[in-house]
């Protein structure tokens, strides 16, 4: 009987729940939803891969790829804290469900070879840089495609 007032109150109030798929709550600003990378800023140092407790990130410095298995990621945010260029961030909404397991690969510009090689061929880097830029463009286009596949 002591619970009756609460029951009556609940009857007169509107529901405490939301009609979820149609009505979605505003996400909290700090929410660690899904890891995202700004690959242009990435220097492929591999700090994120070393700090990751579930080892879901693979960084290949020579090829300039940054790969992440989104199914392994526990969204702890250690990589975000460790990243020296702050290219890793979190979206405030979580990842949509997928039908197939995929590995998310981002292709960036690998860091240029060190000074010795650059000094020997003074004019070569300019051509290389052009070549890299040309490579970069299809890579940029490829990246969103992969993201779209994921969705």
């Amino acid at each position: 009987m002591l619970f009756t007032p609460t029951v009556v109150k609940n009857l007169l109030k509107k529901p405490a729940t939301r009609k979820y798929p149609f009505e979605v709550r505003e996400p909290f600003e700090k929410y660690r939803g899904e890891l995202i990378i700004d690959i242009e800023k990435c220097i492929f140092c591999g700090m994120c891969a070393r700090k990751c407790p579930c080892q879901c990130i693979t960084v290949d410095k020579t090829a300039g790829t940054w790969a992440c298995d989104p199914h392994e990621c526990i969204t702890c945010g250690y990589c975000v804290d460790a990243c020296p260029t702050k290219c890793l961030t979190f979206k405030d909404v979580h990842r949509k469900p997928m039908l197939e397991k995929t590995t998310w690969v981002e292709q960036g510009t690998p860091p240029k070879p060190k000074k010795k090689a650059a000094a020997k061929k003074a004019d070569a880097p300019a051509k290389e840089a052009k070549a890299e830029k040309a490579e970069e463009k299809p890579a940029k286009k490829a990246a969103p495609k992969k993201k779209a596949e994921k969705k």
Binding site: F28, P53, Y78
Partner: protein, 359 residues
């Protein structure tokens, strides 16, 4: 009278996690209960061999899905003691705030499940409605509802702004009011008392001798709470353990209910005493050779961590003793001479966290 053997669990509507009890029953009266554990063993302690000591925080947080923050805290405290790191006062108090928020949502979850165990579904929903506020506070301040991941060796990763503190306090005011509305129901209602009073009685001596922990121990009148040790930021806060003396299911639920309200008070105290300063100190090197033993109070009771370092980034040994492990012998002592229909209520009254126990 002939003895009948009834298997209870590992899959049972009342059990959130798998544990098996073989009940020896005469008529409707339980004479003996024999437990069987090991359905969710994950070998988390062994992971210390392949994960470095920073990464082990995330592993320790996953020992328990409900008191994850406190597992992270006790692990960080152990490593900090081993490496002789003094963390800032602000970090200590921030850890208290999230720990108490975790205790609150764990107790509210349990109070709901307990109400459900004796068939009071409306009360169950009501408690979980309040719990959602606490989960929102966790999500807004730490970035995740349950596994908050705020601990690092040397401090915490997230900070609270004055605005957030004010928002937490206002949310807690509402939550407190909503919880107090349920006080009469859970403590005085005829139906509730009928199902919980003098059911599964554990006397003071039994509780002490069998090594019960947490609310199970305090429900039997033993004033033992690890927060009295003053670890972390608790030394600065006014705190007194909550005890009940009747030792039955009602006492254990009342202890948890009052502790929920006490946690709100502790968060308020902590926020009012939140000092200025850094939230983390830099940590260099690996844990030296040596061993450390740490005890903290989790929602379910005393949790013990034993850590041995060997000078490398991997630990030699990580041993976790969780409160439910300590509460299983008392549970078996509560069973004899109870009715079969009371078994779900008695099992839930120790707040079993089986994944914790088996790690």
């Amino acid at each position: 009278m002939a003895t009948t053997v009834i298997p209870f669990g590992p899959q049972h509507p009342v059990l959130p996690e798998p544990v098996h009890l073989t009940l020896k029953v005469e008529d409707e009266i339980v004479k003996e209960a024999i437990p069987a554990l090991g359905y969710v063993h994950r070998g988390l302690e062994k992971l210390a061999d392949i994960r470095d000591y920073h990464q082990m925080i995330t592993v320790c947080e996953r020992v328990c899905g409900i008191c994850s923050m406190i597992h992270g805290t006790v692990y960080s405290q152990s490593i900090e003691e081993l490496m002789d790191i003094e963390i800032t006062d602000r970090a200590k108090i921030l850890r208290v705030i999230w720990s108490e928020l975790h205790r609150m949502h764990s107790h509210l979850l349990w109070l709901g499940l307990f109400a459900d165990a004796f068939g009071f579904e409306a009360l169950f929903m009501q408690f979980w409605k309040v719990r959602e506020r606490i989960m929102d506070i966790n999500e807004a301040t730490a970035g995740s509802r349950v596994i908050v991941s705020v601990n690092v060796i040397g401090g915490v990763r997230a900070d609270l702004s004055p605005d957030q503190c004010r928002w937490i306090l206002s949310e807690l005011d509402v939550a407190e009011k909503e919880i107090q509305e349920m006080q009469a129901t859970i403590m005085e209602d005829y139906t509730v008392k009928h199902r919980t009073c003098e059911v599964g009685v554990l006397t003071y001596d039994q509780a002490y001798e069998l090594g019960a922990a947490g609310p199970t121990l305090r429900g039997s009148g033993v004033a033992s709470d690890m927060r009295m040790l003053g670890y972390g930021g608790y030394a600065d806060l006014d705190f007194e353990p909550i005890i009940e003396t009747s030792g039955d299911c009602w006492a254990r639920s009342t202890v948890r209910f009052r502790e929920t309200l006490q946690s709100i008070d502790l968060v308020r105290q902590a926020i009012s005493k939140l000092p200025e300063g850094d939230i983390a100190v830099k940590v260099k090197g690996n844990p030296p050779e040596g061993e450390v033993y740490q005890r903290v109070e989790q929602p379910r009771g005393e949790c013990v961590y034993y850590i041995r370092g060997n000078g490398t980034k991997h630990l030699d040994r990580l041993r976790i003793r969780t409160p439910t492990f300590a509460n299983i012998p008392p549970l078996l002592a509560m069973m004899p001479e109870c009715e079969l229909a009371d078994v779900p209520v008695i099992i839930l009254s120790i707040d079993p966290c089986i994944s914790c126990t088996e790690r």
